[in-house]
Amino acid sequence: MFSWMTNCQRITEIVSEAMDNPPPIHRRVWIWMHLVMCGHCSNFRRQLDLLRAAGCWENGNPDGIDTDGLSDEVRQRIKDAIRSGCR
């Protein structure tokens, strides 16, 4: 038994690193065992999942916001800016 297996602070570091650098299978099992036993670290893990979901979240009509979109005037202004940027 490794000491980090019962150390929540160390587990948070390992859980975060696992999101960027997948650990070997035995370490994944140990992480899983800790998360099963520890509700706080389990909540932490879900928080990190949510941060990831929020980062890559996209929606064609965010928040169902009520707007017609860009006005013709603004649309033209942006096109003019792009045209000058192309030169």
Binding site: F44, L48, P62, I65
Partner: protein, 199 residues
């Protein structure tokens, strides 16, 4: 028509002016949902498209033009919050290890336990407050930490690519991402949980 064309990146990228017609409304709605200010949202859309024009050569077709533009837009939205006086980045002290150590007992048990966030990751569109605070908290991160998080979670870069952009080692990148996540979740715990509790 716009949505259909997003499946083929090439025609949409050939004429940057077409971007305005294809993606302008989408980008505007996204920016408006975060900034709540039509004028600011319009400016951010313009800045996004001009930045995309500059970076057009770097578009590798790994995503659709729409996703690529949305990625640039998110950077611009975070820049906007950073520029705002109220949303100045947190002091670099947050980088210090003590800020994380403070959350734990000496033997590593939680002292300030994480709350259970009642948010369904697949229904973020229903969580306006959460997404608002997420962006504001992201803007408050110290610049290098914020950059590392954005590269990883918004741009979807892997460790090797992040190390190249930030000129750091892999281990360093994981430490930075850990600190960024800890700071971000801490900010959300304070600002979002309190807001949710006050409703």
């Amino acid at each position: 028509m716009g949505i259909g064309m997003t499946n083929d990146p090439k025609p949409a990228l050939e004429d940057p002016e077409v971007w305005v017609d294809l993606y302008g409304d989408y980008l505007y709605r996204f920016a408006l949902s975060r900034t709540k200010d039509p004028t600011v949202a319009e400016d951010i859309v313009q800045e996004t498209l001009l930045a995309a024009l500059q970076a057009r050569a770097s578009f590798k077709g790994r995503s659709t033009p729409k996703s690529w533009l949305a990625g640039i837009l998110k950077h611009k939205i975070i820049d906007h919050f950073r520029k705002s006086k109220r949303e100045r980045p947190t002091d670099d002290a947050i980088l210090q290890r003590e800020n994380i150590d403070r959350l734990f007992e000496e033997h590593g048990a939680w002292k300030m336990v994480p709350n259970k966030w009642e948010v369904n990751p697949t229904k973020l569109y229903e969580q306006k407050e959460f997404m608002d605070i997420f962006y504001k908290c992201l803007a408050k991160l110290p610049e290098r930490l914020g950059k590392a998080f954005i590269l990883r979670e918004i741009d979807g870069l892997d460790t090797r690519e992040i190390c190249k952009v930030l000129d750091i080692t892999a281990t360093n990148s994981w430490v930075m991402l850990y600190r960024a996540r800890m700071a971000l979740r801490g900010c959300l715990e304070i600002n979002w949980i309190d807001e949710a509790a006050s409703e």
